[in-house]
Every structure is written in C-alpha cells, then in structure tokens.
C-alpha cells in the first residue's frame, strides 16, 4: 500500500501541471503584496473612512496579517479550480491516457489503487493550502511586519496581534477541509468519466452555482442553503468573527468531513465495480 501511495505521489508531483497552482498562487501573492506596499494605505483608509472623522489612531494596521486576510478572501475563488484540476484528473486522466487498464492488469487491488490516489489528492490539497497560508503570511511579515489585524466580517473587527495567529491556523484547517470537499467531488466525478476535462468543468460549475445559492440573500435560497456544500467551504472565515461561533464552526467541520467521506466512499465503491475499458 505504501509503495502504491509513493508511486501515486511521484506521479502527481512529476507532472508540471501540479506546480501550476503553486506558481499561480505565488505570482498572485507577490503582485498583491507589492501593490499593497504601494497603495495599501489608500485601501486601509477606505476601510476606516467613517472612523477617521471621529477618532485619532495610533499604531500600524497595514501589516502582514491584514494583507494575508485580503489575499485569503480573494484566493478562495481560485483555490477550488486549482484543486479540481488535479483531483479531477486523478482517475479520468489515466483512463484517458489508457494507463488505467495497464495498471490494473498488475497485481494491485482496485481498492488500494484508488485509496493511494486519494491519499495523493489529500497530500496535494494540504500542501497547496499550506503554501497559500505560509507564503502570504511570511511575505506579508517580511514586507509589512506584524501588528493588530483589522478585518471586515459582519462588523469591523480589530484583533490584537497575540490573538491573530490561532485564527489563521484554524482558517488553514477549515480552508483545507473546504478544499478537500471540492477535491473529493472532482475525484468522484473523475471516477465516473474517461475524460479529465469533464470532472474539472462540472466541479467548477457546481462550485460557482452553489456559491451563488450560498451567498445570495433570497428567501427561496434559505431552504436550499444548508444542503449545498459551498455553504460550508467558506467556514474558514468564521474565525475572523469577533466572537467565534464555535457551534457553527463544529457543525461546518462535521458536515465538510461527511461530504468528503460520502464523495470518496461513492468514488471507491463505484471504481471497485467499474467496467474499465481504457
């Protein structure tokens, strides 16, 4: 089993395509950080425009944490695409290339093979989310230093520097869970098809469609909202509420994990009985 996992990891990280995500993230982070270095104060002034008339300020809010939060808010739009690009290709890509049947001719069980592929997806998602968090935090600290964090999440929240890092760690864990839900869906769709483009496009279409349902404040959607997985993908931002709603956070984590198990479970069951023709 370990050998299978090793092979799948090697296959995943030997593809140049696997590094597109890392490169895209890094380039965006560098561009945004440099732009913030030049124009960050204007953006921050916009955040606190109403308060400036009434208050005197002391201290620096344009710091690495603020930039990281801005980046995270924007990057979660791109991240589902990056993870579905790899997870959607994991099985369908091999079927498309005709290598899947060749692998299964050898004495490996289907169950072990798909689990090894799933582990490779989990490792990839973990690394790309970690890379996003670590690179934006490190570069932010390097260019802007640390300090209290100001965010707009329902209200304008200001957190003390000592109160910030655990929130980013929890955001990373929940971001990982959210991206794993997307990756699991792409992985499931990948098991159904022989063309890797299909799972990627369907996953993205579902993510975009469900995100609209999750976020639009229409009464009709209130009934549907709890049943679409995108409602829980953005749970990482719960940790930037001034008082964290732990019940909602725990519920979100449980529902995300359930989604992952259901999507991957169906993928494994289906793949075990799939008629592999290519």
């Amino acid at each position: 089993m370990l050998t299978l996992i090793k092979i799948e990891l090697e296959k995943t990280f030997c593809h140049r395509r696997s590094y597109i995500g890392f490169l895209a993230i890094f380039v965006i982070i560098v561009i945004v950080q440099l732009a913030m270095y030049v124009e960050g104060n204007s953006l921050l002034s916009f955040f606190i425009q109403n308060l400036k008339d009434v208050f005197l300020f002391e201290g620096n809010l344009l710091n690495g944490y603020f930039i990281t939060f801005i980046l995270l808010n924007s990057m979660w739009v791109l991240m589902p695409f990056l993870v579905s690009l790899i997870a959607g290709d994991m099985i369908a890509g091999e079927a498309n290339n005709g290598t899947l049947r060749m692998i299964l001719i050898r004495p490996v069980s289907r169950r072990n093979l798909i689990i090894a592929k799933l582990v490779a997806v989990i490792v990839y998602v973990f690394l790309i989310v970690l890379f996003l968090m670590a690179s934006s935090l490190l570069l932010g600290q390097l260019l802007f230093g640390a300090g209290d964090l100001i965010v707009y999440h329902g209200s304008l929240n200001i957190f003390e520097e000592s109160d910030v890092m655990w929130r980013f760690i929890m955001a990373f864990i929940y971001g990982f869970l959210g991206m794993m839900v997307v990756a699991s869906l792409a992985f499931l769709l990948s098991a159904f098809t022989e063309n890797s483009l299909g799972p990627i496009i369907i996953t993205m279409a579902l993510v975009i469609g469900f995100t609209i349902i999750s976020n639009l404040n229409l009464e009709l959607f209130n009934y549907i909202r709890p049943w679409v997985f995108t409602t829980y993908i953005s749970s990482w931002s719960l940790f930037f509420d001034y008082v964290v709603d732990w019940q909602r956070a725990i519920e979100s984590a449980i529902i995300s994990v359930l989604h992952i198990f259901v999507f991957c479970g169906i993928a494994i069951l289906y793949f075990n009985k799939k008629d592999i023709l290519t």
Binding site: L56, E58, N73, D148, Y152, G154, L216, N217
Partner: protein, 198 residues
C-alpha cells in the same frame, strides 16, 4: 465661576497619563486598550500604545476649559445649590464649536458634563467623573456621539448577506467611548521628542 475653573487649568503646562480605552460602537469590535497620553502646551499631543488604539478626537485631550476658550456669551439655564447648567456661545465665528451646554458642580467647581454642537464633528456628549486627581483632572470620561454607518462594497467583503446594525437615524449609529485615566504626571516636563511620530 467659569473663569475660576479656567484659571485652575491654566497652571498646567504638560501632563502624561495612562488611559484605558473601551470603545462601544455597533459596527466596530475592538478589545479594550491601554495607552499613555502625552500633552504639552500649547497643543502638542501624542498617544503611545502597544499595537493599535483609537481615541475620540473630542473629549480625549480633555482639559475641561476647551469649551470656554476665548470670548463667549453665557446663558444660565438653571442654577441650584448643587449644579449649574450653563450654555456657552463662542464669539469666534471661525470656532468649530457652535454651542455647548455645561453642567457644573458648584461646590467643587468642576465641569461634570458637556453637550456640544460642532460644525465638523456634529453633536457629542461628554460625561466626566472625578476622584482625587491633581488639578481636578477627570478619572473617567465618557464620550457619546453619532457616527456614520459603516459599509463596504461587496467586492471588498465578499459578503452578500448584510448583518443588521442598529441605526440612530438615517445612515448613523450611536458610538460611545469610555476613557479611564490613571497615574497622572502633571507639570513634570515632557521631552519634545515624544511628540515626534516615527
């Protein structure tokens, strides 16, 4: 009586004081902060703190005579043995202050509350509590004011669902800041370097 109060504060050249800041605004959540405030005549002011802190522009640099600067007209509204209520109209047409109402403790010759109407900052109210600070400096200052409701474009927040904010009137919400002062050091001399911001 106002001139007596004014004279008492005119002896102050500089002061530094520790302040505990509690901000209570519907759309703003910030932990209580501790800072040190420095003041030197005629108008040098600096707040120093670890991290970030905010102080209301009105009521922070509170030498209570701010409301009775220059020439002014007074109208006595009520006057009993304990508290006098006086309206102050400054003569200076350039003054930001339009009208202020002062509640004065007659026996101790202290301003205990101010209701001010200004051109730029709108109206605000300041309540002062005293202990035994030198020069009758206040121990606790409560500043209440109206503030424009805070709103960011969706593109900044990613939030399509708006949470409700209590509104005082159209587009405005109530704000309140409590400043608890301690450890006053008055007329001990403050180096000018302190007022140079990095």
């Amino acid at each position: 009586m106002l001139e007596e109060i004014k004279k008492k504060y005119e002896e102050i050249n500089d002061y530094q004081v520790k302040v505990h800041i509690h901000v209570d605004i519907d759309f703003l959540k910030i932990p209580d902060k501790k800072a040190t405030v420095y003041f030197k005549r005629p108008n040098k002011f600096r707040m120093k703190t670890k991290g970030f802190a905010m102080l209301p522009k009105k009521g922070v640099n509170f030498v209570p005579t701010d409301f009775i600067k220059g020439e002014y007209t007074t109208i006595s509204v009520s006057n009993n043995e304990i508290i006098a209520v006086v309206k102050i109209i400054p003569h200076d047409t350039e003054s930001d202050l339009i009208l202020s109402t002062l509640w004065i403790d007659i026996q101790k010759k202290r301003i205990i509350a101010v209701d001010a109407n200004t051109k730029k900052a709108g109206s605000y109210k300041v309540d002062l509590s005293y202990t035994d600070n030198p020069f009758d400096f206040p121990s606790v200052v409560n500043v209440s004011f109206d503030i424009k409701e805070f709103e960011l474009p969706i593109s900044f927040t990613g939030e399509f669902i708006k949470k409700e904010i209590k509104k005082a009137k159209d587009g405005e919400t109530k704000g309140r800041v409590t400043l608890s002062y301690s450890d006053y050091k008055i007329n001990e001399g403050i180096d000018d370097k302190i007022f140079n911001k990095k």
